[in-house]
């Protein structure tokens, strides 16, 4: 039974990270119909910003993390929107999908060429020890990840639901035309979602990299898990991404422990296919109308 709880908490912790990435992904989709195939690489990259700030500029960890957040928000938020999404979105979804696939390749190869092809160690937010709660030993790292994610998602929900800007962003997501008529600066609201996405991926990067090390190819599977979490939970719901991410993390961990380590990756994929076939709007999602 104690094994079960350990697996559950570890699964929830990785799932929480997937959820962070997936939430950013769904926010972009909701406000600007951007499908970011480079989302995984967006998570891979900030870790290297941190490492560069620590190694090259000799800054302490916390300064490096803050710098990485700032660089991410400028590079992965503002510039990504201005240079790639804005000129391309009028051509429809497909060119942007292709361009983000190319962007993923660019980031991956860029890190490999200019930083390193080897996996790099990354400082952890918490000591790699266990605490015992009610007789079950839990990894401190997992608990820290869970707490940080819970706070981040809580703050995001408060912001989206309780502040004026947050509600304007929701209005923009639901119906940009009406939002514009109501005098909401739609363009700026869309920009905010890109900034939030950049902050979320930077946070996910700082949380996930101590567990899996910093490597240029990390984006491949991180991105895939985030997509699957977003679709399983419901592409148009923040709650959906949260549930999808947690579910995926738990299933992944249990499948690896109890079913087959070789086919570990297959479980999320099977869930994805089943959900798409039987409930394409996702577990918590709303149906989207098709228009002519």
């Amino acid at each position: 039974m104690s094994d079960f709880f350990q697996l559950l908490v570890a699964g929830l912790a990785t799932g929480a990270i997937y959820a962070l990435i997936a939430i950013g992904f769904t926010l972009l989709w909701q406000t600007s119909q951007t499908i970011n195939f480079a989302q995984g690489e967006f998570v891979m990259l900030p870790a290297f910003f941190v490492l560069t700030a620590m190694g090259y500029f000799q800054q302490p960890f916390w300064v490096a993390v803050l710098a990485a957040f700032a660089v991410s928000i400028v590079l992965l938020g503002v510039l990504f929107k201005k240079l790639m999404v804005d000129p391309m979105i009028r051509h429809g979804v497909l060119p942007l999908v292709i361009a983000t696939i190319a962007l993923a390749l660019l980031m991956k190869e860029g890190v490999r060429e200019f930083y390193s092809a080897e996996a790099q160690g990354f400082p952890s937010l918490a000591a790699a020890t266990n605490v015992s709660i009610l007789g079950v030993a839990f990894a401190v790292q997992s608990l820290v990840v869970l707490i940080v994610t819970a706070v981040a998602v809580g703050v995001l929900q408060l912001f989206l639901n309780k502040t004026r800007t947050g509600r304007r962003m929701q209005a923009t997501a639901q119906n940009p035309t009406v939002a514009r008529l109501l005098g909401i600066p739609v363009e700026r609201m869309i920009l905010y979602t890109f900034l939030i996405n950049a902050a979320l991926v930077a946070l996910a990067s700082v949380l996930v990299t101590p567990i899996y090390l910093a490597k240029f190819s990390n984006g491949e599977w991180l991105g895939m898990y985030a997509f699957i979490a977003a679709i399983v939970g419901g592409f148009n719901q923040v709650r959906g991404a949260l549930v999808g991410g947690l579910l995926l993390g738990v299933v992944d961990n249990f499948a690896a422990a109890y079913l087959s380590a070789q086919y570990r990756l297959a479980m999320p994929l099977l869930i994805l296919i089943v959900v798409i076939l039987f409930r394409p709007q996702g577990l918590l999602g709303r149906l989207e109308e098709r228009t002519v």
Binding site: I35, M84, P87, M88, H91, V93, L94, P95, L96, V97, I98, A99, I101, A102, L103, L105, L106, E109, G110, R112, E113, E220, M224, F227, I228, I231, F235, Q262, Y263, L265, A266, L269, L270, L272, I273, I276, L277, P280, R290, V292
Partner: protein, 328 residues
């Protein structure tokens, strides 16, 4: 205008054909190997261009079909089968699997479909890697024989190159015929506006499945040629990376243009070899090229060439009378 365009394309196609026939006599075996790889990948890209460029269905599973085709031929020819039956079987098997995979396409669109096919590609990769009793797992299958045709052994690089080139030619003509048939037009209707196509009486259900299945089938045929080309098959080449690469080939060349995949495959297969000195920087440059191309010309290199060679009439009024004079 149309005749001028046809003339330019005709001359270009003839020049390319002559180059393709003459080139292997001037190349070393490795150069011929690369050119053969180009021919094989072009076949896979032609299939994806049907699915994506003509029918508008995003598929990220083309590498899985190339893989299924390659394993089919690898397994059967190492057990003594002649090449062509395995070639046909690879095509038919992928057609069938593609048909089944097309079913999700009926329920969901764009990005969802992209992820279903992406998931499928990864599942197939896992099966290649883990089912060692069948596929040899990570060790793969080696000593795949080159085909022999009526006693003529296509064993040497140049012979095998012509063998693949002949298949490419036949497949190109078949696809050309298909695109100009009512089926091809139905595919385009599906891409442009599925709802309107449906309301005009196009059986969108059947044509979506068809587009998927034929694209997959061509992927299988490409894989079937790939196995005797490299003579060793393991799971790595058929991972998601190849699917994305094929997708980029189609889009960079110009999706929805018949010759788009040929050009895209040149950029993705031949250029990296000529740019060896650039090493990893080549991929960075390639990625930047794709992004810039998507920003300025989403219809790919072919769209760009069309735009430069045949500017729209209102932008170039001087060009029109000349073109008419030529046409008359």
């Amino acid at each position: 205008m149309m005749r001028r365009r046809a003339a330019i394309y005709g001359v270009a196609a003839a020049a390319c054909a002559i180059f393709l026939v003459a080139a292997p006599f001037a190349l070393k075996p490795y150069g011929i190997f690369i050119l053969t790889t180009w021919a094989v990948m072009t076949i896979a890209a032609i299939g994806l261009n049907l699915t994506l460029g003509y029918a508008g269905q995003v598929s990220m599973a083309q590498a899985a079909f190339v893989g299924i085709g390659a394993y089919t031929t690898a397994l059967l020819t190492t057990h003594g089968w002649p090449f062509w039956p395995t070639f046909a079987l690879a095509g038919v098997a992928c057609f069938a699997v593609g048909w089944v995979l097309g079913y999700p396409a009926l329920r969901v669109q764009h990005h969802y479909l992209a992820f279903v096919t992406l998931a499928f590609n990864t599942l197939v990769f896992l099966i290649f890697r883990n089912e060692e009793w069948l596929t040899g797992g990570n060790y793969g299958i080696s000593n795949i024989p080159r085909p022999s045709v009526f006693g003529w052994e296509a064993d040497r690089p140049r012979d095998f190159y012509f063998f693949c080139l002949a298949h490419l030619a036949v497949i190109s003509f078949a696809t050309w015929w298909l695109i100009r048939s009512p089926w091809g037009r139905a595919f385009v209707a599906l891409r442009e506006n599925p709802m309107r196509a449906l309301s005009l009486g196009v059986d969108t259900r059947r044509y979506t499945l068809m587009a998927f299945a034929i694209g997959a089938g061509l992927g299988g045929l490409a894989g079937s040629l790939y196995a005797p080309l490299v003579q060793f098959v393991d799971p790595v080449p058929f991972a998601l990376a190849l699917s994305l690469n094929l997708l980029l080939m189609v889009v960079v060349g110009g999706s929805g243009y018949f010759f788009g995949p040929f050009l895209g495959a040149i950029v993705a297969v031949l250029l990296p070899e000529w740019m060896r000195f650039a090493e990893g920087y080549y991929l960075i440059g390639y990625a930047v090229l794709v992004i810039v191309l998507m920003v300025f010309c989403p219809s790919g290199l072919f769209g760009l060439a069309e735009r430069l060679l045949f500017p729209p009439d209102k932008n170039a009024p001087a060009a029109q009378p000349k073109a008419q004079g030529e046409g008359a």
